[in-house]
């Protein structure tokens, strides 16, 4: 591994930058200088050989690109470029070629880009597999009748192959077992390590005494099968982790800072301190907590509070990190950044909620707790019995080794990872990312589902309701006005009216008044589209998202109301979950009217409006105290505490980073259709795991008496081990 890394280092200009040089180059410019000339892009839409070829060709044809390589498994492209080429240039190139691309922050991906542990496990698996095949060949000759000197020679060769292979391959088990023993605990790895060591040790002794039975094949096969389980387990988690990291990496932490001379400079978020002036463009998310010093705009707080209606803001107002700036550019004076910002303060709330969550012990842990002592007791009893009965320690030790090998937790070691791998794979293909190893088991226990409204059941995108009632002339004027702004309500109106075939009217002097609306001159008369009081209407509609249109002078302003569109499949998801016998509830920070309308639309009976973040968590805690198991689905900062307090939690990929971190399952697609299937899959996986445990126990019940009675030969041990491992794996595949 070291050779490879050294060999490739000079090809990456980014790694050549030495920390000393950066430190010596003066403060403030660090991020600029350390800029990696390797760019990572996420390509969510690529799916075939033609996509790979067109993306690579388009990139390679760009001047300045040295090397471009697409990874289809991760849907990513990594590009080596000259330092003057930026990610935005390449995104434009790909956009022209017809591919959607997003920049990824290589820093956030560093942990998984180099999967050392996975390769290490694969290497051990390869060695164990090689040794097992060779030892098995020799063992077959022994079982077929080789005896005397030939048998001894075969045993010695087996020992020569198996012992070094075990010493290398079984290290993960030895390490885990040692860690558990030192901590005064028993886990699954203790009997595994003991079985491997005892089998190898007694076999070596038997071989030196020209004994008939040697278990080298069993010891190495045990290692091989268990490493498969370990590797599957690792892979499932690594895939989920890298996808979760990719979501985080999509938010490249760069901020536009204003220097004393009024110059704009782009810096890393971590470089911002209290007192710095930060520019937030329309559509951008507030990177810090701060006070507005310049500009007027409207801000979207839905991720923090669940309210859908935009809030106007002006100089002097305070904003929090995570809110989205909608209309005009804002200059903020930073009050708190990074660790001190309200976004991070929320992490503390999550930590408190998590410690309250009862520590869940996984099915595998519970099985190990029963299994490990049981096996040790049987082995010790068998050894003691045979020692007292025959007075021969050698025979007694052989019997104990046979018992440990026969009861080998091969099937138990595969029972859980094989099923979770199959189930996670199935859900991953349906756009669900299982972040936590025990999430499926916990999901299967659930009896109440609590949804958040804004951004979870709904898309968080407004849809106009009154557009069809507009007079054609009015519609043309509204469209022309709406096209002049990037405000979400304006762009929703523009999109809707364009889809209805409306042609925009010819307007003059169109201008946007940040925080208020858009105005223009039409045939010498003033038109306005925007906030109620600004267009001349007294009193806004209560509890509704609306904008107002003031037609040619003198006309009464017209209200254009909006509703928040449901996510695709939300109704089906609720219906599926209810059909599966679950209680479905809705908790939202939004107004009562909006909440009850939506609850009625998707068919939820229990709905609560105007709920504060702490109340959400309290509601979940109250349900848990009644002994109910809650699945919380939410996306915003106001949901994070509730997500952490719930038995198991989900959040959509569009949610805030904090919400995704707090949840066990991330929904990668925008529709919710498969939510019901996730529950069914979880139920089925747990049923398969239980079946696998029963199958493994059945094999043990049949084989242990043979081992205790001293009738087990290495052949029987090998048969029992392979047969149980294969049945367990095949059973797990039924989940797919």
């Amino acid at each position: 591994m070291a050779v490879t890394d050294i060999g490739s280092a000079p090809e990456r200009p980014g790694t050549v930058v030495c920390p000393g040089c950066v430190a010596g180059s003066g403060a403030g410019e660090g991020p600029e200088l350390a800029k990696d000339a390797r760019i990572l892009l996420s390509l969510p839409t690529i799916h075939c050989a033609a996509c790979i070829a067109s993306v690579e060709e388009a990139l390679q044809a760009t001047p300045g690109v040295e090397e471009a390589r697409v990874n289809l498994t991760l849907k990513r492209a990594s590009i080596e470029t000259s330092p003057d080429l930026s990610a935005a240039d390449l995104i434009a190139v790909l956009d022209r070629a017809g591919f959607e691309a997003h920049e990824l922050d290589p820093g956030a991906l560093a942990a998984t880009s180099n999967d050392k542990l996975g390769r290490d496990l694969l290497m051990r698996l390869g060695v164990a597999g090689f040794a097992m095949m060779n030892v098995m060949l020799l063992s077959i000759s022994v079982w077929a009748g080789a005896d005397a000197a030939t048998r001894d020679m075969f045993h010695w060769i087996s020992a020569g192959i198996a012992l070094p292979a075990i010493a290398f391959s079984a290290q993960p088990f030895f390490r885990n077992a040692w860690a558990a023993l030192r901590g005064g605990r028993l886990n699954m790895d203790v009997p595994i390590a003991l079985a491997i060591l005892l089998a190898a040790g007694t076999s070596l002794y038997e071989t030196s005494q020209s004994g008939a039975h040697a278990y080298f094949d069993a010891a190495i096969a045990l290692t091989f099968f268990l490493l498969i389980g370990r590797y599957l387990d690792h892979r499932t988690r690594a895939v989920a982790r890298s996808a979760a990291e990719e979501l985080a990496a999509l938010e490249v932490p760069r901020v536009t800072r204003l220097t004393g001379e009024g110059q704009e400079e782009t810096v890393e978020l971590s470089a911002i301190c209290a007192g710095d002036l930060v520019l937030v463009k329309p559509g951008g998310r507030m990177p810090v907590d701060g006070e507005i010093t310049q500009g007027a705009s409207e801000i979207d707080r839905s991720l923090l509070t669940g309210e859908t209606a935009p809030v106007p803001c002006a100089p002097g107002d305070l904003v929090q990190a995570g809110e989205v700036n909608l209309t005009g550019p804002l200059v903020l004076r930073t009050i708190a950044a990074g660790r001190d910002s309200s976004l991070h303060a929320l992490a503390d709330l999550v930590a408190v909620a998590e410690s309250g969550r009862a520590k869940y012990s996984s099915l595998a842990d519970r099985a190990a707790k029963l299994y490990a002592p049981g096996v040790h007791i049987i082995a010790v009893l068998a050894m003691a019995g045979w020692w007292l009965g025959t007075g021969d320690l050698r025979v007694a030790l052989n019997i104990a080794a046979a018992v440990l090998i026969i009861t080998c937790p091969c099937a138990l070691g595969l029972a859980v990872p094989a099923v979770t791998t199959a189930a996670s794979g199935r859900l991953f293909r349906k756009g669900m990312l299982i972040k936590d190893a025990t999430a499926l088991e916990r999901l299967a226990d659930v009896d109440v589902v609590v949804f958040d409204k804004t951004g979870t059941l709904t898309q968080g995108v407004p849809v106009p309701m009154d557009a069809e009632r507009l007079h054609p002339d009015q519609a043309a004027q509204v469209l022309a006005l709406a096209q002049g702004s990037a405000h979400p309500l304006a762009s929703a109106l523009a999109k809707d009216l364009t889809a209805r075939g409306v042609e925009p009217a010819a307007l003059e002097d169109l201008r946007e008044v940040p925080g208020y609306g858009i105005e223009a001159i039409f045939a010498g008369q003033n038109l306005r589209l925007g906030r109620a009081e600004w267009v001349g209407h007294e009193g806004a509609l209560p509890d509704e998202t609306a904008t107002w249109f003031a037609g040619p002078d003198g006309a009464v302003p017209v209200a254009l109301r909006f509703r928040d569109a449901l996510r695709d499949g939300a109704g089906k998801a609720v219906a599926d979950l209810r059909a599966a016998g679950l209680d479905v509830q809705l908790l939202s920070g939004d107004s009562a009217a909006a909440v009850s309308a939506l609850a009625h639309e998707v068919g939820i009976e229990t709905a609560k409006a105007g709920v504060l973040p702490a109340e959400k968590a309290a509601h979940i805690a109250a349900l848990s105290e009644q002994g109910r198991k809650v699945l919380m689905v939410g996306d915003g900062l106001n949901d994070t505490a509730a997500l952490a307090a719930a038995h198991v939690s989900m959040s959509p990929a569009s949610g805030l980073d904090a919400a995704r971190v707090a949840s066990d399952i991330v929904l990668m697609r925008s529709d919710l259709t498969e939510l019901g299937d996730a529950y069914v899959t979880a139920k089925r996986s747990v049923a398969r795991i239980a079946e696998n445990f029963r199958l493994a126990t059945l094999y043990n019940i049949a084989a242990v008496p043979l081992a205790v009675a001293g009738l087990a030969t290495p052949l029987i041990a090998a048969l029992a081990m392979s047969a149980s491992s294969i049945t367990v794996s095949l059973n797990a595949l039924r989940v797919r």
Partner: protein, 62 residues
């Protein structure tokens, strides 16, 4: 039975070659994009001649 003196080392050697081959594939990052690699075979680029030097090495890949 004397033939075993040649056959066993020969079989171990051949198996060992396979193992070394596996190590090589592992070290040259050949399991990082199984899906993409299985589709690249359909790509007609470099069908007529091998990819020129400098881009040959697998390790250059990040």
């Amino acid at each position: 039975m004397e033939v075993l003196v040649y056959l066993i080392p020969a079989s171990l050697f051949l198996g060992g070659l396979g193992l070394v081959g596996f190590f090589w594939t592992l070290r040259s990052h050949q399991y990082e994009d199984p899906e993409g690699d299985s589709r690249r075979i359909l790509n007609s680029q470099w069908d007529d001649r091998p990819k020129p030097d400098g881009e040959m090495d697998q390790e250059g890949k990040p």
